[in-house]
């Protein structure tokens, strides 16, 4: 199975149909192990049980950036190699990335609640994640605003790449803005000084969420391919009438990827 074979949406559908159940099962198992390990991990001597939010927050925050990276690769695929599955992948990944980002925001704010006494603090990290969330929403709005998928794909690809270049700049600016106004952030999650008792469940949860992302992405890509096929079929149905009159004059529409 080479990359060329995968480029064919029909091959992609049949391959993922076989892979997906296994992938979902593995995801469920790893997630169960991760949750169990997280639950049995010791409480932190300072933060108590709230430290366990970290096991969900950190993987989500990590994935929120990874998904944008995946979308950037897909955007290159759309713009440079014109890979037929690239824009499908980019479109399918955006809502998933937004969901991970949203979870990172919610868990971050829940984690901060006992620290700050409020649900929201304009902390440098959380603020950066919030901006990332806004960019995801903007990207989704762009996908929805343009009816023709291939035109939307190119616009979204450009925006994704511009976002990828800008995200570090935004992150740096927000950090600078934040230290300008208040002393260093109170929020310190993760980092290499972590104890083994925390590190193992954290890595397990990170693996579980990454698997979850791959599973959701493949499932969403299947949906998107089927949705495009449905669209092509509907267009063919709309054009089908009075074919005895001028069948030759109509442009031929082929279902997406069926050729």
């Amino acid at each position: 199975m080479t990359l060329i074979d995968l480029a064919n949406p029909s091959k992609f559908l049949s391959l993922t149909a076989r892979v997906l159940p296994w992938l979902a099962a593995v995801t469920a198992i790893v997630l169960a192990i991760g949750l169990y390990q997280s639950a049995t991990a010791p409480d932190d001597y300072q933060q108590g049980a709230t430290v366990k939010i970290m096991f969900v927050h950190v993987p989500n925050a990590w994935l929120s950036m990874l998904v944008w990276g995946v979308m950037s690769l897909a955007a290159l695929g759309t713009l440079v190699w014109r890979h037929p599955l690239a824009d499908v992948a980019a479109k399918a990944a955006a809502p998933i990335g937004a969901a991970f980002t949203f979870l990172a925001l919610v868990t971050g704010s829940l984690w901060g609640r006992p620290m700050w006494g409020t649900y929201w603090e304009w902390d440098a990290r959380l603020t950066s994640v919030l901006i990332l969330f806004l960019m995801y929403l903007g990207l989704i709005a762009l996908w929805r605003a343009v009816e023709d998928p291939s035109r939307a794909a190119r616009a979204a690809a450009v925006l994704t790449l511009v976002g990828a270049i800008n995200l570090p700049i935004i992150k740096f600016s927000v950090d600078w803005w934040n230290t300008l106004h208040q002393p260093a952030s109170v929020m310190r999650l993760g980092g290499p000084t972590l104890d083994r008792a925390f590190l193992v469940p954290l890595l397990m949860m990170a693996a579980a969420f990454s698997l979850l992302f791959v599973t959701l992405l493949l499932a969403a890509m299947r949906n998107e391919i089927l949705r495009r096929r449905l669209r092509s079929l509907q267009m063919m149905q709309a054009r089908a009438f009075s074919s005895e009159v001028d069948a030759g004059s109509r442009e031929k529409t082929v279902p997406f990827g069926a050729a």
Binding site: E121, L130, I131, A141
Partner: protein, 221 residues
Amino acid sequence: MTAQAALIRRDIRIAVRVGGGALIGVLFFLTVVVLMPFAVGPDLALLTRLGPAILWLGALLASLLTLDRLFMADHEDGSLDLIVMSRTPLELACATKALAHWMAAGLPLIVATPVLGLLLNLDTRSTAAVALTLLAGTPSLTFTGMIGAALAVTLHRGGLLLAVLVLPLSIPVLIFGVAASQAAISGLSFGAPFSILCALSLVSFVVGPFAAAASLRHGLD
């Protein structure tokens, strides 16, 4: 009534399906509110004090800027001609379109207010006050903005020109909307500014449709 119901149903369907209207309005609202702390600094006490004003400004900009296409889209595809020729008076049709637009784009802003209140560290009471004043005031913004949207058809321009035309007209609503929410938060007399806000809305329900219809009648060609 079936004619008005049909128009409301159509406009809301389009707003929901095209993924433009409602969602982008809320996203714009969210973005404007998120920008504020970068300008004034992440000081929660300050943001709490400014909160109602920030939320009102965001909602005002969001509800006016989404009005851009209210009549323009119907003008471009020829629907406006048929609306003018229908047996529904044009004033009533304009009012109906504005109502549909408010339901599709204005109400989601109010629903989003509590989330944004959280970002600005507003307590429940303040958030409720802002949401209530927005509920009373945003219809007025839509009905006033409709005049600008109708002028945009006459002038074949949209976007910023619309904003320049309409923003000054919305100043009274902003004044009394923010005043009423501040009054509710600080425990001062809430009734007076809130009544005036409601009165402004009622005036706009009368003036807006007539001005818009007059503008549209002269704008057809």
